[in-house]
């Protein structure tokens, strides 16, 4: 049921209650006190009496309906264990809360993995020009926090700039010995000594730069994801269509998954996410881009809200050079299958046996 459709006994009173809620709240948790499960658990650790009092305060502070929604959210099951009925209830609850908070109808999809689909991704590293359009398209699509204070600006895709190597005759005799005082090898190779991990914050007037190559990195949707292995509450898991997802409501914010991920793919909401009303994407998926709360981890999910309905992910659609390719790995005619069959392909950090379904290729 949507916010607009909610029958109300006393419209005037309801309007009153709505006005008490901050207008145009950029920040879902601020308009709804105690939205985070983590806070709740913390409160539970306090004296039971005081936590009960806290609950009482919560009930009187905002309208009862909203408090009840949050109350129910705190006690809902892990998404994977919910019955279809419970899923529908959770969905209706979230839709009501989001629609109220963002002042427009927000849809929370719960479409399951489609039979016969195993999603796969391929990226042409030779074509990528490092323009970062994918990064920003992802933010526009997936309702990430976009504040200006530290930790409030979240991006799921990182574009790594690496310098092209060059062997120079003039440097043949340089630097014997340097640094540690021992001979570390030849010195004719230029950039390797200057850039260790590559650059993420390059800002030239135009890309691609002459001496650089670019490598975008996001969640690899591993077949054997280390993040899933370490999650103590099992809130992150692999869906049957191959995407690793998170039930944000069960995330306790321990960040074990962030430590376990070898691809730096996961982000943590240190603060309350900043998502202005007019910028929200109202088409969301429960396991995908629905607005998150403070204290939970998030990451790329190949735009489940789109891909479960057959549409390309947002990053694929905006890449100006067409370096990003997406498709069904079980369909031999799909572009990703054809790339795997025809091009030179590699996986990032293949030696870790994570078996990503994100492939890099070049032609």
């Amino acid at each position: 049921m949507t916010h607009e459709e909610t029958p109300s006994a006393d419209p005037a009173r309801e309007q009153e209650a709505e006005r008490a809620v901050p207008p145009a709240s950029a920040d879902p948790a601020a308009s709804a006190p105690r939205a985070s499960r983590r806070d709740f658990l913390k409160a539970g650790g306090m004296l039971s009496l005081s936590s009960l009092m806290g609950t009482a305060a919560l009930m009187v502070q905002s309208d009862n309906a909203r408090a009840a929604i949050e109350w129910a959210e705190h006690f809902q099951k892990n998404y994977r264990l919910m019955t279809p009925q419970e899923k529908a209830e959770a969905r209706a609850r979230l839709e009501r809360r989001y629609s109220q908070e963002y002042g427009r109808k927000v849809n929370v999809d719960t479409t399951d993995a489609q039979p016969g689909v195993l999603m796969g991704y391929a990226l042409n590293v030779r074509k990528c020009i490092g323009c970062r359009r994918c990064v920003h398209a992802c933010v526009a699509e997936n309702n990430q926090s976009r504040g200006s204070r530290p930790g409030e600006k979240i991006e799921w895709i990182q574009v790594l700039r690496m310098e092209r190597g060059e062997f120079a005759k003039e440097k043949m005799n340089q630097g014997y010995p340097e640094g540690l005082g021992i001979q570390v090898g030849g010195n004719a190779y230029t950039p390797a000594g200057e850039v260790l991990e590559g650059q993420y914050r390059y800002e030239p007037a135009a890309v691609p730069e002459k001496d650089a190559t670019y490598m975008p990195i996001a969640c690899m949707q591993c077949e054997k994801p280390p993040c899933v292995k370490v999650c103590p509450v099992r809130t992150t898991y692999r869906e049957p269509d191959g995407v690793v997802v998170i039930d944000y409501n069960w995330c306790i914010g321990c960040r074990m998954c962030m430590g376990a991920c070898p691809y730096w793919a996961r982000r943590f909401n240190v603060n309350n996410p900043v998502l202005p009303k007019e910028e929200i994407n109202p088409v969301t998926h429960y396991l995908g881009n629905r607005p998150r709360m403070r204290g939970v981890v998030e990451k790329c999910h190949w735009c489940l809200q789109r891909t479960r309905h057959g549409r390309y992910p947002a990053c694929v659609e905006v890449c100006p050079v067409g370096a990003r390719k997406f498709g069904n790995l079980l369909d031999p005619e799909s572009e990703v299958s054809l790339i795997l069959a025809r091009k030179n392909v590699f996986r990032l950090k293949a030696e870790l046996n994570t078996f990503p379904k994100f492939f890099y290729f070049y032609d």
């Binding site: 709240s25 308009s31 005081s50 309350n272 100006p320 005619e333």
Partner: protein
């Protein structure tokens, strides 16, 4: 027990009072933040319509408009003016047309945005000067061969033609443009090809790229990802300027673009210089 009870109650009151206070503060904070972005949005409404470009700046522009309330056809980057998000991937498209190798794709599932709408000079091509027998001025004759000759009129219209950077001196206008039908391109048999289907032109010399393009590996497609899904295909000239595929010394087929802003700096870091240093010089 009796002694602790009053303390506990007091503590609880204190905790909930503190909590209520912090919540009120947050609310005020949020109100401030919410108000800030509302201002520029209002100012925008009175401004000119937003136009953003897809892959070729100056040759692949789209005008932003609302398809349904709060749902634009495209979102534009405020920094670079690039298209950042598609609300409707099929806007303004027409069928791609018949092409060998696309038999499995259902009718109407391969669509393109017509290039001819983007070309300012094209409407004049077969009318103003070229009337089907050659230039309408003196001498009124068709070119005898396809070899390069300077064409000052055309260079005035399209400066890129002065130094045609395609093929390194081995191709010229009539390898691509139809000899008599000047509002058409030309395929390998010399038959006319629409400007909306440049792949039939480019493919006669770049067969490997054509094959990859047809399979979705080169170039790009948006819409439905299933191999038989409905897709908008980007045609060759939406990414490549046919009159300049070398870009001088860069020698790259795709022109440079301004990048989108970089990610946030880590807390306490003033600039990104740390990314440039190596702890141990090699």
């Amino acid at each position: 027990m009796k002694k602790i009870a009053p303390f506990t109650i007091a503590l609880a009151f204190l905790a909930s009072a503190l909590y209520a206070f912090s919540a009120a503060e947050k609310t005020a904070d949020a109100a401030k933040q919410g108000a800030a972005p509302a201002q520029p949005a209002k100012a925008e409404a009175t401004k000119e319509p937003l136009v953003c470009f897809e892959s070729r700046k100056g040759a692949s522009e789209i005008t932003q408009r609302e398809i349904k309330p709060g749902w634009p056809n495209v979102k534009c980057s405020p920094t670079t003016g690039a298209a950042l998000w598609y609300g409707d991937p099929y806007e303004g498209t027409v069928p791609l047309g018949k092409m060998p190798g696309l038999e499995k794709i259902p009718e109407g599932h391969a669509v393109v945005r017509p290039r001819s709408e983007k070309l300012a000079i094209l409407p004049m091509c077969a009318v103003a000067c070229h009337n089907g027998v050659g230039p309408a001025f003196v001498p009124p004759a068709l070119p005898k061969d396809k070899k390069p000759v300077p064409i000052p009129t055309m260079e005035g219209l399209l400066p890129a033609l002065k130094d045609l950077q395609h093929g390194r001196g081995r191709i010229w206008c009539l390898d691509c443009h139809h000899t008599t039908k000047r509002n058409m391109l030309v395929d390998n048999y010399g038959d006319p090809v629409s400007f909306d289907q440049p792949q039939l032109l480019c493919g006669k010399c770049h067969g490997d790229k054509l094959r990859d393009w047809r399979d979705g590996i080169h170039g790009k497609r948006i819409g439905e990802f299933a191999s038989t899904g409905r897709k908008r295909w980007f045609v060759c000239t939406e990414c490549h300027n046919p009159h300049n595929v070398q870009d001088g010394a860069r020698n790259r087929g795709f022109a440079q673009l301004q990048p989108e802003p970089p990610p946030q700096l880590p807390r306490g870091m003033k600039d990104a210089r740390h990314e440039l240093v190596h702890p141990i010089p090699h």
